[in-house]
């Protein structure tokens, strides 16, 4: 049996009449609030407030555990216990496991079981936990899609669309899920630009946590340099990389109450990743850096790269060690930088360099999984950016009279 077009429409009408009930739409307060958080005029103050909420709670929570309890535990009990009880039969083993025997705090000791555990558990763990809790709440309330709509115009200037804010925010927790999340972008060009920007300019939660701990006064300036670099490099890449950046239609869900079970599950999944990959990497990082120090490799590299570091970047040659550690864990590198004697601006430059220099090993592996061509491209961009941007930060310091 075949139906004519009119008969088909009649049939559709009949089915619709029987199955669809039409009611009167009544706008609720939640709908209107959803609307005003999406319009630039009223939405931008809300973005500014959300970011404030994020950082304020992040700082208070991480500070509560790290400064309030972990610093005391690790410096007054953990470090002295290891210094007293670890056998010093083999000096090199003591150096690797416990670190400097004269150190009186865990940041300076730099042993696997002292600084390694302090950084991973005492500093990074509370920071990562609160970061993921806040991110999950924003996600489950339904705020992230609104944020994506609001930043859509700005991100189009660097060849991305609003949803690129999702990998960026995820990378502020850890670059690994951030790189994976670039798959939501449609074209190869968009994915390449996003991955490169994440690997270079977006510091992870662990690094933010340690920055909050060791350079709280100048952290704002470091972040400002990274934000400027993110947009300038994105703008340049958008101009020189061939390919398309298409428009997208976004589905913005209504605001809703987060479910405790979903929040707990998401945090658990993200924290599990931290326990299984980040903590071993931190310990491995301390081990490798200590071995390289003992073998004299870092001293040799410091001398070789000294002109670049001292004259071009304006930082002491001793920062070469932390930069090598940064390949394994960037949080570890910032912790190492904090014990090197330098001016506050040199510290800012060094932390910016640690952030933009090579992605950490875990991110490197993720980039490789996305394709070796993308990885090589990102690395080429990275070398140019580190050299140019590092010199630029130094130049700004010279012009401002602080470098």
């Amino acid at each position: 049996m075949s139906l004519t077009v009119d008969e088909r429409w009649d049939l559709i009408d009949r089915i619709s009449r029987e199955t669809v009930t039409a009611g009167v739409y009544k706008e609720t307060l939640t709908d209107v609030i959803g609307e005003i958080t999406i319009k630039p005029m009223t939405g931008i103050p809300v973005v500014i407030a959300s970011l404030y909420l994020f950082w304020s709670i992040f700082g208070s929570f991480a500070g509560f555990f790290t400064d309030g309890f972990f610093v005391k535990f690790f410096d007054q009990y953990w470090l002295p216990w290891w210094q007293l009880h670890f056998p010093d039969t083999w000096e090199w083993l003591y150096y690797i496991v416990v670190g400097d025997p004269l150190a009186d705090n865990c940041l300076e000791a730099f042993g696997m079981l002292t600084s390694g555990l302090f950084v991973a558990v005492g500093v990074v763990l509370p920071a990562i936990f609160i970061f993921y809790l806040m991110l999950t709440l924003l996600e489950d309330v339904g705020y992230l899609p609104r944020l994506a709509v609001l930043v859509d115009t700005i991100l189009h200037k660097i060849g991305l669309h609003g949803y690129a804010i999702v990998p960026t925010i995820l990378s502020l927790g850890c670059n690994v899920p951030g790189v994976t999340a670039t798959r939501i972008l449609e074209t190869r060009k968009e994915r390449f630009v996003m991955m490169t920007l994440l690997a270079i300019f977006v510091p992870c939660g662990a690094q933010l946590g340690i920055m909050q701990q060791v350079i709280p006064e100048t952290m704002g300036l470091v972040l400002l340099y990274l934000v400027i670099g993110y947009f300038v490099t994105g703008f340049v890449l958008n101009r020189i990389i061939p390919g398309k950046s298409p428009e997208i239609l976004m589905d913005v869900p209504p605001y809703q109450k987060p479910l405790l079970r979903n929040v707990a599950l998401k945090i658990w999944m993200r924290m599990r990743e931290f326990f299984t990959s980040a903590i071993p990497f931190v310990l491995l990082g301390v081990l490798m850096v200590n071995v390289l120090y003992l073998a004299g490799f870092i001293q040799w590299l410091s001398c070789t790269l000294s002109p670049l570091f001292v004259y071009w970047f304006g930082i002491p040659e001793a920062t070469v060690g932390p930069l090598i550690a940064a390949f394994l864990r960037k949080d570890l590198a910032v912790a190492q930088l904090s014990v090197i004697e330098m001016t506050w601006y040199q510290m800012v430059t060094a932390v910016v360099l640690v952030s933009i220099y090579f992605p950490c090993l875990a991110t490197f592996v993720m980039l490789l999984r996305e394709g070796w061509k993308e990885l090589l491209g990102s690395l080429a961009v990275l070398i140019v950016v580190v050299t140019v941007y590092g010199g630029f930060v130094h130049l700004v310091g010279i012009l401002a009279g602080v470098a």
Binding site: E27, T42, P45, I48, A49, L53, G68, F69
Partner: protein, 142 residues
């Protein structure tokens, strides 16, 4: 609803003034304390937080007319949410700073904790109870 309009217009003016003072004090770079009010002078709480208090004031003032209309009420709601957010962060920061004992032990004494939570307070914390009035109007409109 007319009373509500007047109330939120006044609250908006006070909130706007608080935000403005926050920003001015931040620009001067010094803390300012008077009676139970303390205006932070740092870039984060004073500058960034002050800007948000200023926005909250603008939300209140822009919704002063025709409060019974849902779009206007939603702006009042948004202003209150911004105040709750700043005040909530300030309260959370005070509590987390008052619990650890510092050099004297793991936990602070009860007196120490109470001292940490005692006045003076930042402007947003003082505006918090006044911003809660919006809940009454939401119930009324529902």
């Amino acid at each position: 609803m007319r009373l509500g309009s007047v109330y939120f217009a006044l609250l908006g003016a006070v909130t706007l003034a608080c935000g403005f003072v926050d920003l001015m004090v931040t620009l001067s770079g010094e803390y300012c304390s008077w009676w139970i009010v303390e205006v932070p002078g740092d870039m984060f709480r004073g500058g960034w937080g002050g800007l948000i208090v200023l926005f909250a004031g603008l939300f209140y003032i822009s919704s002063a007319r025709n409060l019974s209309e849902i779009h206007q009420l939603s702006k009042v709601m948004m202003g209150s949410i911004l105040i709750w957010l700043i005040a909530g962060c300030d309260i959370f920061a005070r509590i987390t700073e008052s619990i650890p004992g510092g050099d004297e032990g793991w936990f602070n004494s009860m007196e120490g904790f109470q001292g940490g939570c005692a006045p003076p307070y930042f402007p947003a914390m003082l505006l918090l109870p006044f911003s809660l009035v919006v809940i009454y109007y939401i119930r009324k409109i529902e």
